[in-house]
Symmetry: C2
Subunit: 128 residues, 2 copies
Amino acid sequence: MATVVESSGLPADCYSADCPTRQVLDRIAGKWTVLIVDSLLQGTLRYTDLSRRIEGVSQKMLTQTLRSLEADGFVTRTVHPVVPPRVEYTLTPLGRSLAGPVAALRAWAEEHINEIEAARTAHTRVPR
Amino acid sequence: MATVVESSGLPADCYSADCPTRQVLDRIAGKWTVLIVDSLLQGTLRYTDLSRRIEGVSQKMLTQTLRSLEADGFVTRTVHPVVPPRVEYTLTPLGRSLAGPVAALRAWAEEHINEIEAARTAHTRVPR
DNA sequence: CCGTATCCACCTTGATACTG
DNA sequence: CAGTATCAAGGTGGATACGG
C-alpha cells in the first residue's frame, strides 16, 4: 500500500486538483466551513440557529456551504415535515474528526501570529 | 493570557479577516504555498529549481507567492550579485514549523478521502 | 537567470428579491 | 422557517510579452 512519493514528503499527485490534501484544503479554506463545523461541534442546530450564530453569513452562502458539507458527508440534514418547517443539521463522525487537524492549525496560528506580524512589520519598514 | 472564547472552542474574532486562524488558512489555501514550502523543506533552492520542481506554476504566481511568503517571514530570499543572477530561497524556522500542522492535515486527508468520496457517490446517486 | 507588466477569463461571494 | 433565483462586484490565477 506504499504510495508513490517524490523526494519530498508530498505525494506525487498533490500537483493535481484531486489530491486529497488539495481537496481538504479547498474545503476548509472556504470562508464559512470552519465556522459551521465549529458551531455544530456541540450538537445539532437548526438553519436559523446557524445563521444567527454565524454572524455575517448570507442565506445563499449558508445554504451552499451546508449543501456541499452534506454532499461530502460532513453533516447530515434532517427535515421534519411540520409547519413551520424544521430543518436540523448535525455533524457526522467524519465531520467531527475534521475538527482535529483544524484545531491543530488554529493552535499553530495563535502560537505564531505574533512572529508573522513582526515579520510583516519588519518587511514593510525595509521594502527593498 | 486567557483569550476571549465563545461557547464553542473558536476565538470570538475568528469571524473577522484578521483572525490568526483565518490568516493562516488563507495563506496555505493558496494553490502554490504548500508546494513551495514542501519543496524547500529539504533545503535551499534557486528560483529556477523551484519552477522546475513545481510543475505548472507560472512565473507570475511563483514570484508572487514567494514574495508574500517572504513578507510573512516564512522564507528568506538571498540575491548573489553575480552574472547570471543567482537567487536562493530558504525556509526560516517559522516556515519549517508550518510544515507540522500541514502534515497533520495531509495525514487526515489521506486517511479520510475514501470516506469523503464514498459520501459523494452516495449523495449523487440519491440527489433528492 | 530572474524576474515585471498587462490583460483577461473565471470563480467566489454578496446583495436583493421572491417562495412553499 | 428555510430556503431559491438572479445579478453584480471583486479577487485569483493564467497567458503572454518584455526587461535588467
